[in-house]
């Protein structure tokens, strides 16, 4: 137990270290950081109040039929699903691909101690996710239901413990996949595939569950339960996270005995799952994680053909771009977070549709819209918006300096100008993002019969979008790159630069997109506005990078 606590403390210290750039802390920098925190906090506040407002509205509607507890069920459900989903990523990164594994394995620790510590770290990270979803729900519900002190106590415990069940699910899923893909000589490849399987399962799971929930509730049943009132709907809540239902009941009647009983069930279920997790961990974890960083090697002479193919002169910018992209694809953590995410977003957008029982019907409606000229203007705006979103969230440009880490000195002694290095990094981000967005448009063209001219316009707008996010991203990363990391996870996931750049991109893009939507322009004016506006913006950003950006690069000291 004490080993578990010590390890947890060290992992937390190491991990939270500083999400910002390298720690040369002058007062000016400290102030800058404080302002950044404030900026992030303020820009998140609207979301927080939006969730509170929604909770209030739904609460009022449901309280008329005395089913207000459903708000909590809904809030818990969304939180748990979000955590399960992010959990798949977190767990695979923190439990398996994190660089500290090699230092932990030689220590006299049990698998369950390492797992326990890493689990706790993941749990604490997930509190950040909860802040935006669960906390406003709990606060609004508490105020509305005036549950008093017992409510507050239950609410705090629920906030702290709710992520446990979804993370355990994510962890068990990953442990099984990693155990059975950690085999053979090409284990690096297998593991990459394992990671993809994990995510596919998560997505598939999501779709199936949503369908299941939608299907298994006949309108008559629902009506009957609604009429019964007394929060009876809460108890049927959902079948995958049974503990959530218990917690919801406890919170809807905090002063009563049944609250205590249900809370007991909640606690018992959570504890049983932890025990199952740790027991499985003892069996599976080491077998999955040992050798996780091994690279397959052939140790044989290259044939003269392979040699000829590899040893060719390439213009340096192209060569640099290829190098960047190779590293993104071959480093598991970069692959998961930067490459895979790029192609997963379109799938996320499709889930709600696929989950709908009348799924096919919903698709048909979308298809009809996509192929209808009347909506071409708005579709182009959406294409542009999705391109911004996809390329801003893959963080390739926004972490391109940070990813160099301690090896940043290499960039400083090679005879390649900072301008060229910046552009090579920008272009590698642009290319990967474009492959993502273009394939999305092509699929829309083939499956949904999106007209060819609209695909071409979307692709052109997408180029503007992707250049824009990449310029912004690298500029923000140049300001204060996070170079002081000991595993790649910290360069991409725990890097504040990617968050700031994401928000800046989405904010600026929203300013241009909203008017286009409001004025309902037709397609050619929309196209003309997007292209001319972003040609100008991108040109200014390019100039900024080539002047201020280059100076910032030169100032980075290794």
């Amino acid at each position: 137990m004490s080993n578990y606590i010590r390890l947890t403390k060290i992992l937390l210290k190491n991990g939270f270290g500083n999400a910002f750039g390298k720690g040369q802390k002058s007062n000016k920098k400290k102030l800058g950081q404080a302002l950044l925190y404030l900026f992030v906090f303020i820009s998140i506040l609207p979301l927080f109040f939006m969730v509170m407002g929604m909770t209030n509205t739904i609460y009022d509607a449901l309280s008329m039929i005395r089913q207000e507890g459903l708000v909590l069920v809904l809030g818990f459900w969304i939180t748990a699903m979000a955590i399960f989903f992010f959990g798949i990523f977190y767990v695979i990164n923190v439990f398996y691909f994190s660089g500290d594994i090699e230092n932990l394995l030689p220590l006299p620790l049990r698998p369950s101690q390492i797992l326990g510590a890493k689990f706790t770290v993941t749990l604490i990270y997930e509190y950040i996710t909860e802040l935006f979803i669960l906390l406003p729900v709990l606060i609004s519900f508490g105020i509305k239901s005036s549950g008093g002190i017992p409510y507050i106590i239950y609410a705090i415990i629920v906030f702290i413990t709710l992520p446990i069940v979804p993370i355990v699910y994510a962890a068990i899923l990953n442990m099984i996949i990693m155990r059975f893909t950690n085999i053979g000589k090409r284990r690096d490849l297998f593991r990459m595939i394992g990671g993809i399987i994990g995510m596919v399962i998560a997505i598939g799971f999501n779709v199936i569950i949503q369908r299941f929930v939608n299907n298994n509730m006949s309108p008559e049943q629902l009506q009957k339960m609604l009429v019964e009132g007394n929060n009876s709907l809460v108890s049927i809540s959902n079948s995958i996270f049974p503990s959530n239902g218990f917690a919801a009941i406890a919170l809807t009647s905090p002063g009563e005995v049944r609250a205590l009983v249900n809370f007991g069930f909640y606690a018992a279920f959570t504890i049983v799952l932890i025990v199952i997790f740790l027991t499985l961990g003892e069996l599976l974890y080491f077998k999955g994680v040992i050798g996780v960083s091994e690279t397959s090697s052939k140790r044989r002479r290259l044939s003269s053909k392979e040699y000829e193919k590899n040893v060719i002169q390439t213009p340096i910018i192209k060569s640099y771009i290829i190098k960047e992209i190779k590293l993104l694809f071959r480093t598991p953590i970069y692959f998961m977070n930067c490459i895979l995410m790029n192609f997963l977003w379109p799938i996320f957008f499709v889930i709600p549709l696929a989950a709908n029982p009348s799924g096919f019907g919903a698709f048909q409606e979308i298809f009809a819209v996509l192929s209808n000229d009347k909506y071409a203007g708005i579709i182009l705006v959406v294409s542009f918006g999705i391109s911004i979103f996809v390329s801003a969230t893959n963080s390739i440009a926004a972490t391109s300096i940070s990813r160099e880490g301690q090896n940043i000195y290499f960039n400083k002694y090679i005879p390649l100008s900072y301008k060229d290095q910046i552009m090579a990094k920008v272009l590698s981000g642009v290319i990967v993002s474009l492959v993502g967005t273009i394939s999305m448009f092509l699929i829309a063209g083939i499956v949904a019969k999106m007209p060819v001219y609209l695909i071409l316009l979307s692709i052109t707008a997408s180029i503007m979008a992707v250049l824009f996010t990449s310029f912004i991203g690298i500029f923000i990363d140049l300001r204060a790159p996070k170079l002081d990391w000991d595993n790649e996870q910290k360069a991409v996931k725990q890097n504040f630069n990617s968050v700031i750049s994401m928000m800046a991109c989405i904010f600026i893009a929203a300013l241009t997109i909203v008017p286009l939507v409001v004025f309902k322009l037709s397609v050619m004016p929309v196209f003309a506005i997007i292209i001319s506006a972003y040609l100008l913006i991108n040109f200014m950003l390019y100039k900024l990078l080539m002047n201020v950006g280059v100076k910032l690069f030169a100032r980075i000291e290794a």
Binding site: Y307, V311, Q313, I316, Y320, N407, A554
Partner: protein, 241 residues
């Protein structure tokens, strides 16, 4: 040739990591750079290579100022850093080809050089594998090969012998000698005093950011009027500071 004139660098307000350094590394000689941990060796090397900028003073490589014409100056030298863990996800051959691209080595020439170097360093069988699968010594060799593939006139090596097996270490020393004998420059830092004593034409000893001694080991003995080993002289000199 490397000319360092009046170069100073401090990381904080207290003391200087390098203090008014003056030293000229001539052509045709191997110069060893010695000093205890934290003496300013790596800081000096980083300033020569453009990784750090000096607070004051100037550094010229083959007559080209690293601050005024950084790209031109950087083309003059090849640098072996003390930590060879770079580009671990690239294959050896990809790394060498990338380095050749950076230094604009023609296709034919690079083929010939990579062929020759991988043969001499016994790396032919691993070029197709990712560098992450290499041992420490193999990583060191691939980084050295990455420098030699563009055949720079000035070699700057930070602790190049670390991790090399005896044969590769011997080979590197031999190559350093050939390079110097052809009228070019070799400047390397080391902790291994035997290597310095045997290989270097001259040594520079630095401590607390200042050059304590610059000359041949032989002259040093004459000056100190002793028959002691370089190790003893080094320890006395750096401790008396």
């Amino acid at each position: 040739m490397i000319e360092i004139n009046n170069v100073s660098k401090s990381y904080n307000t207290k003391g200087k990591a390098v203090d008014s350094l003056n030293i000229t590394i001539p052509n045709g000689e191997i110069i060893g750079f010695l000093g205890p941990n934290g003496a300013g060796k790596t800081t000096t090397i980083k300033m020569i290579t453009g990784i750090l900028s000096a607070d004051e003073g100037s550094i010229k490589i083959n007559g080209i100022d690293i601050n005024e014409k950084p790209l031109e100056a950087k083309k003059q030298f090849g640098f072996v850093p003390d930590n060879p863990d770079m580009f671990l996800r690239l294959k050896g051959i990809e790394y060498l080809n990338f380095m050749a691209d950076i230094y604009n080595v023609s296709g034919e020439l690079r083929k010939q050089r990579i062929d020759e170097l991988s043969g001499r360093f016994e790396m032919t069988d691993v070029l197709g594998d990712q560098i992450s699968s290499y041992s420490h010594g193999m990583r060191q060799k691939i980084v050295i090969m990455g420098v030699l593939v563009h055949s720079p006139s000035v070699w700057i090596l930070d602790e190049p012998m670390t991790g090399l097996d005896p044969k590769s270490s011997f080979l590197l020393k031999e190559m350093m000698r050939e390079h110097a004998n052809s009228g070019k420059t070799v400047f390397f830092s080391t902790h291994v005093l035997e290597v310095a004593e045997k290989v270097c034409d001259r040594i520079a000893i630095i401590n607390k950011g200042k050059i304590l001694y610059y000359g041949t080991v032989h002259e040093m003995r004459n000056n100190l009027k002793t028959d002691e080993s370089l190790e003893k002289m080094f320890l006395e000199m750096t401790e008396n500071e």
